[in-house]
C-alpha cells in the first residue's frame, strides 16, 4: 500500500500522458514502421559485430526525443542500447582463428571478405581435423592452401598472410 501511494503521488497522470505522447509522436512523425526498425537493428548488429562481441538478443533501438545539447528544447534521437558480451572476447577469438594483428588495420571491406574466408578455412579445418587430428597447425594451413589453389588473387594473398602468420608462430 505504501509503495502504491508513493508511486501515485510522485507521478501525476497528466505527466504520464505527456511522456507517453512525446514518445509516441516522435515515432509517429518519423513514420518508422516496425519493419524498418527491424532492418535498422539488423544492420547495426552487422556493423558492430565486426568489431566486438555483442548480445544481439538484448539489443534495443528506439526513436525518442532527448534534450538538445544547445539547450533549445527536445530533439528527436535514435537511441540504441547494445550490450557488449565481452569486449576482449572478440580479440581472443581472432587469435584462435590465427589472424595477424596487422590484418585488423586493413580496410573494412577487406576485413569482411577475410572474415568470410576465415569461416571457410575454419570449416575445412574441422574436416581436416577429423582426417588428420594429430597434425600440427601449420601443416593444416598448408593443406588448406592446396585445396584453395583455384581461388582468386586476393584469396591467395590472404592465404599467404595466413601462412606467414603460422610461420611466425612456428618461430615462436
Amino acid at each position: 500500500m505504501g509503495l502504491f501511494d508513493i508511486f501515485f503521488k510522485k507521478k501525476n497522470t497528466s505527466d504520464v500522458a505527456k511522456d507517453r505522447l512525446k514518445l509516441l509522436l516522435v515515432s509517429d512523425r518519423a513514420n518508422c514502421s516496425p519493419d524498418v526498425m527491424e532492418q535498422i537493428k539488423n544492420e547495426i548488429i552487422q556493423v558492430i559485430a565486426k568489431y566486438m562481441d555483442i548480445d544481439t538478443e538484448a539489443l534495443e533501438i528506439q526513436i525518442t526525443s532527448t534534450e538538445s545539447e544547445g539547450g533549445n528544447g527536445n530533439v528527436p534521437a535514435l537511441i540504441a542500447n547494445i550490450p557488449i558480451k565481452d569486449i576482449r572476447q572478440k580479440e581472443l577469438k581472432e587469435h584462435l582463428k590465427d589472424v595477424k594483428p596487422e590484418a585488423k588495420k586493413e580496410s573494412d571491406k577487406k576485413d569482411e571478405k577475410k572474415d568470410e574466408k576465415k569461416d571457410d578455412t575454419k570449416e575445412s579445418d574441422k574436416t581436416s581435423d577429423k582426417k588428420e587430428s594429430d597434425k600440427k597447425e601449420s601443416d593444416k594451413k598448408e593443406s588448406n592452401k592446396d585445396s584453395d589453389k583455384k581461388d582468386e588473387k586476393k584469396d591467395d594473398k590472404k592465404d599467404d598472410d595466413k601462412k606467414s602468420s603460422s610461420d611466425n608462430k612456428g618461430k615462436k
Binding site: 501525476n12 509522436l25 509517429d28
Partner: protein, 263 residues
C-alpha cells in the same frame, strides 16, 4: 479579401462542430459576412447546433451537382442576417463531392462573404481532403487527451503537407480542476507537444450543452466558453487579446452561479 478557414481535428467528438458554430456566429456578431459549410456528408450536425435544421431545402451535394444555385441552398441565420449556413447532405456519402468541386464552390462564395468556415468531418479520408482543399488557414481543435492530441498531430502534418501554412490550435474542453490535481495536461503541455500557435482555450462547461440543446451558439455571452469563443474570433481578425484566466475558481463559480439564476 475573404478568408477560408477549415475547422478540423482528426478525432471525432472533440468539438469541431460546436467550435465552427460559435466562431461563425461570433464573426457575424463582429460585423463580418460569414458562411458556414458543413462538409460532413452523411452525418450532418452543424444545422442542429445552429438551430436551423427545419429550414433546409437544398444541400451541399445539390449545389456541386448543379441541381440548384448556391444561393438557393444557403440558409440565413435566425439572428444575424450576415450569417449563412450551407448544410451537408444526409443521405449521400463522402465520395459525392471532390476536392475540385469544393474549390470551385468556395471560389464562388468568396465574392459574397468575408469568412468561409468549413466544418471538417472526423478522419483523414475523402471528407477531410474535400474540406481542406480550398482552405487558406486551419483551426485544429483538440482536447487535452492522448488520443485527441495524437490525431491532432497527424492532422497538423497533413495540413502542412497540403501547404496550409496558417495552422492554429484550439484546446477545447479543458477542466482546470483536473489540471490542478495533475490529472489533465495543461495548455502549455499540449502546445509544447504539438508545437503550433495557440489561438484559444475553451473550458469544459455545461453551458455548451445547454446552448446546443437550444440550437443557439453561446459565443459572446457571459459564460466562460462564451467569452473564450469571442476572444478566438477577435484573434482571427488579428486583434491581440489576452487569454482568459481559467484558473480562478471564484470567478468560475460566480459565472456558473449567474447562469444558474438565469435558468
Amino acid at each position: 479579401m475573404s478568408e477560408v478557414i477549415v475547422v478540423t481535428s482528426g478525432k471525432g467528438g472533440v468539438g469541431k462542430t460546436t467550435t465552427t458554430a460559435n466562431i461563425g456566429t461570433g464573426l457575424a456578431k463582429l460585423g463580418k459576412k460569414v458562411v458556414l459549410i458543413d462538409t460532413d456528408i452523411g452525418l450532418r450536425n452543424l444545422d442542429v447546433v445552429m438551430g436551423l435544421e427545419n429550414r433546409i431545402v437544398y444541400n451541399l451535394v445539390d449545389v456541386v451537382e448543379g441541381n440548384c444555385k448556391y444561393k438557393q441552398a444557403l440558409i440565413k441565420d435566425k439572428k444575424y442576417p450576415d450569417l449563412h449556413l450551407l448544410p451537408s447532405a444526409q443521405t449521400r456519402d463522402k465520395t459525392s463531392v471532390t476536392p475540385e468541386q469544393m474549390k470551385k464552390l468556395v471560389e464562388d462564395l468568396k465574392d459574397e462573404f468575408d469568412y468561409i468556415i468549413l466544418d471538417c468531418p472526423a478522419g483523414i479520408e475523402q471528407g477531410f481532403k474535400n474540406a481542406i482543399a480550398a482552405a487558406d488557414r486551419a483551426l485544429v481543435v483538440t482536447t487535452p487527451e492522448v488520443s485527441a492530441i495524437r490525431d491532432a498531430d497527424r492532422i497538423i502534418g497533413l495540413l502542412n503537407a497540403n501547404e496550409i501554412k496558417k495552422v492554429d490550435l484550439i484546446v477545447n474542453r479543458i477542466r482546470m480542476d483536473m489540471v490542478k490535481r495533475g490529472d489533465m495536461m495543461n495548455v502549455d503541455d499540449v502546445c509544447e507537444i504539438l508545437c503550433i500557435n495557440l489561438i484559444g482555450v475553451v473550458p469544459d462547461d455545461e453551458n455548451i450543452v445547454i446552448a446546443t440543446n437550444q440550437g443557439e451558439p453561446l459565443v459572446g455571452d457571459n459564460s466562460l466558453p462564451g467569452k473564450a469563443y469571442m476572444n478566438i474570433c477577435k484573434r482571427i481578425l488579428g486583434e491581440k487579446v489576452d487569454f482568459l484566466d481559467l484558473t480562478n475558481p471564484g470567478f468560475f463559480k460566480k459565472i456558473g452561479n449567474l447562469f444558474k439564476k438565469k435558468a
